[in-house]
Symmetry: C2
Subunit: 325 residues, 2 copies
């Protein structure tokens, strides 16, 4: 900046004023300064600038489980767009469902003085963020609630959606429904399982633990479990898959066998209309989830200090897949 000032024949402060579009500078000087800036390729250092002026960093952080997963990729896309609209840069990191890693990454983001955080929590204790919140960093949790912390949260109606879906299966006369899920350690899985149970009691169907299988990590594991269940004498007449990766495996196995079991899956997915098996999915608006969370965050950043709120977004039952030809 001093070089620019020398070149333009003005004081350092005048250059600062020009660079910051401050008033009270002669048009002629402005021009000279801008010329010098262009010639010397000067660009102001935002670190020094915000150090002195105490301005925010115009950066937010987004912590998700896994970027490559379409659910999180969709969220990241929406957040990136809203961040751009707010002239804010976006730092993204993946916790890979590891609480230690989550904590480390969130700390790092806070250290970098992000203006706000959007977090899909991995661990179940986020007390370490309390100091940061009190220090004034806004934070919005999405898809799952934070542990041990009262904070803004945007969730899906996992429980209600699962209950509605199960009710549909029960109304169709199914009494033996296989329920397949990933880890019970994940909040959404617990909620969805609870929702399924909610529907059983009013229908007079007992909760049979032999029909519930957890720890299913991917499509092929799901296919194996389905195969095994169908081979039992009291095979299920319907399946409820609690996430879309499991749904894929179930479809694969049911299609392979030419089975006519009903299939209900939580999570919609791309190409769900093209899969070779009729299924009903519990769908929701992922983009709306991200939008609500990001908008809330920016309202907080702009100074909204009202009491933390929790938003729950609805789910919807949708018929998908192709009938067998």
């Amino acid at each position: 900046m001093a070089d620019v000032a020398a070149r333009a024949g003005v004081s350092l402060k005048t250059v600062s004023r020009v660079v910051n579009n401050a008033p009270h500078v002669q048009p002629e000087l402005v021009e000279r300064v801008l010329a010098a800036v262009a010639e010397l390729g000067f660009r102001r250092n935002p670190q020094a600038s915000s150090l002195r002026s105490g301005q925010p960093s115009a950066t937010i952080g987004l912590l998700i489980e896994e970027i490559a997963n379409p659910f999180y990729a969709t969220i990241a896309g929406v957040v990136a767009e809203i961040a751009r609209q707010n002239d804010t840069m976006l730092i993204i990191a993946s916790s890979e469902e590891d609480p230690d890693r989550e904590q480390q990454l969130l700390r790092e983001m806070c250290t970098r003085r992000v203006d706000g955080l959007l977090v899909v929590p991995a661990g179940d204790d986020h007390a370490f963020l309390r100091a940061e919140i009190e220090l004034g960093t806004p934070m919005v949790f999405l898809d799952r609630p934070a542990g041990g912390l009262i904070a803004d949260t945007v969730l899906l109606d996992n429980r209600g959606g699962a209950r509605d879906g199960m009710r549909r299966l029960l109304e169709a006369g199914h009494r033996r429904i296989g329920i397949l899920l990933d880890s019970l350690g994940v909040y959404t899985m617990r909620e969805r399982l609870d929702g399924a149970q909610d529907a059983l009691a009013p229908a007079g169907v007992p909760y049979d633990t032999r029909l519930v299988r957890d720890g299913i990590r991917g499509p092929s594991a799901a296919a194996r479990v389905v195969s095994e269940m169908l081979d039992r004498p009291d095979a299920p007449t319907a399946f409820f898959s609690l996430n879309n990766r499991i749904t894929l495996g179930v479809i694969e196995e049911l299609h392979r066998r030419g089975s006519d079991a009903a299939l209900l899956g939580f999570d919609d997915f791309d190409m769900a209309g093209l899969v070779p098996y009729p299924l009903t999915v519990i769908a929701y608006d992922t983009r709306e989830l991200a939008r609500a969370a990001a908008e809330l965050l920016f309202r907080r950043i702009e100074g909204d200090r009202s009491w933390p709120r929790t938003v729950v977004l609805p789910t919807e039952l949708v018929a998908r897949g192709l009938a067998p030809r």
Copy 2:
């Protein structure tokens, strides 16, 4: 930091030493300082730190077209992981194929003094980055080459892959092959179309422009084009779709009609093994693409000043989809 020093009864500099794990500090003092740090909730300001010490920002930027797109999401995931392994934060932004927006976002990243940039170019002139490169910011372009700039680049063998795929169709006896593509403004589309043409001449099949349709933006547009082509008297016996969104639409229409046209698609996709139509895809390793680019970038950041290199990754023909039941 001054408060911490006062509380621990040491000088400010000693606190700095402790915070930076510098040697030559008495263990007892270290302890007192750390206690004061904990009590006051002190965290050093990396902006001021790097302002003074001139250290790099430990941040890289990734510019892609659209985060929600699985191709870019996969890239982002790999880059995020490699960044983490290098203790580096990752800023992600989407250009949405808009050259102006690309330029604006890249400038902003450079202003923030990122240590390096990974760019999927949207525009075709990146001369504005030359000053930045000469200033010492490493940059690696991926999936598409930069315009008007000699720089590190990691590409896929679009042309070779398309040629091999077409050759396969020609060997199977197809002579009328419908070619469907998105905009010719996109580098990869041009390369793939060139590759298709490369295969036609040696097989003695003329290039018939009536069989080539560009400007196809999504699955439903693709389905319409297929429908129209199949209704013509000299309907194609095979289709070559130049990206996976188009492939989806083609499948939909071919399946709907119960057609037996052969289908070749560029880009593999999730669930490609579950779609209700037999198809061959030109697949490649997206993760490897991202890995190669990110590794190269970090080698540059670590000081590798060798001549810019261009890496071209191979493609592979893979049979996918389910035969009709």
